[in-house]
């Protein structure tokens, strides 16, 4: 967290790295399997695996301590693992070609939460890395969010687990 001296309000720091400059390989840790209801079969037959950016792991863990958020996360995660997309649950957050693989898990419970993710494709597998949480104050896809999704779109990962 950094502080905005002019207003005295804490301002969240997104990333030290400038877009497109010296992006190092990040670490993605595989999340344990969620119990799924099997109600939603994979649309494509592709296996979808959830990972979390190592730098985001504690924040995600903390966010999911809230039962209502965890409950909705479970639903949306199962939806995403069925290789589906929906504007209301899990959908693309594309701003430019850079962010074509950036998606967001949408949790409209106790706020307007977005967990920004990047998708990686391999033969028969889709890996979704959960990267950043934002509690949106408005519905607009503002300049700051556009910058964020473009930056996330440039991330590359070493997958663990």
């Amino acid at each position: 967290m950094i502080h905005n001296k002019s207003r005295g309000k804490p301002k969240e720091k997104l990333d030290k790295i400038k877009p497109g400059v010296n992006l190092s390989l990040r670490i993605a840790k595989r999340l344990p399997n969620l119990h799924t209801s099997n109600q939603l079969q994979s649309l494509t037959g592709r296996e979808v695996i959830l990972y979390v950016d190592k730098n985001f792991e504690l924040d995600l863990f903390s966010l999911l301590q809230e039962e209502k958020i965890k409950k909705k996360f479970r639903m949306v995660a199962e939806f995403a693992m069925s290789d589906r997309y929906s504007d209301d649950l899990y959908g693309h957050e594309r701003n430019s070609e850079k962010s074509k693989d950036v998606c967001a898990i949408k949790i409209c419970v106790l706020g307007n939460h977005r967990i920004y993710c990047k998708e990686f494709f391999a033969s028969g597998i889709k890996r979704i890395v959960l990267i950043k949480h934002v509690n949106k104050k408005s519905n607009s896809f503002n300049k700051e969010l556009r910058k964020l999704v473009d930056r996330i779109g440039e991330y590359s990962y070493e997958f663990q687990g």
Partner: protein, 136 residues
């Protein structure tokens, strides 16, 4: 992921009891129906606002239903069937036996609960296919 971290995540994702697991099953069933309705609305070019007006509910309510925040009830379904002039078909299919082991493993439940879980599996004969068909 270290074994300690994994245990912590496993604990976070585990259901506290059968009731919580069944709540999730119910949420997913409702969401499955909601997705079918959403697809149908898309195919027919009907907006959420128009659907709200048709069935006498607020657009916000429709949004909550379709994104899974509220669970669908039978009255709502009956209104959908009536106002959209559609049929709702569903089928019960038996879950393959092996699923019980997978589920028990995923839940990390102890042996004492295994019997109860198997009963849930039998009960949970999956409603695999909901189809909203135009009655015409």
């Amino acid at each position: 992921m270290s074994s300690k971290d994994k245990k912590t995540w496993d604990e976070l994702f585990a259901f506290s009891d059968e009731a919580e697991m069944l709540e999730h099953e119910a949420d997913m069933l409702s969401l499955k129906i909601a997705l079918e309705i959403t697809n149908y609305l898309g195919e027919k070019g009907i907006s959420k606002k128009e659907l709200a007006a048709m069935i006498g509910k607020s657009p916000a309510y429709i949004t909550q239903i379709l994104r899974g925040d509220k669970r669908i009830n039978m009255v709502f379904l009956a209104k959908i069937v009536q106002k959209l002039n559609v049929n709702l078909d569903f089928r019960l299919d038996t879950v393959i036996e092996g699923d019980a082991e997978l589920l028990a493993d995923a839940l990390k439940i102890n042996k004492d609960l295994n019997i109860a879980t198997c009963n849930v599996i039998d009960f949970r004969t999956s409603l695999q296919k909901y189809e909203l068909k135009a009655s015409r």
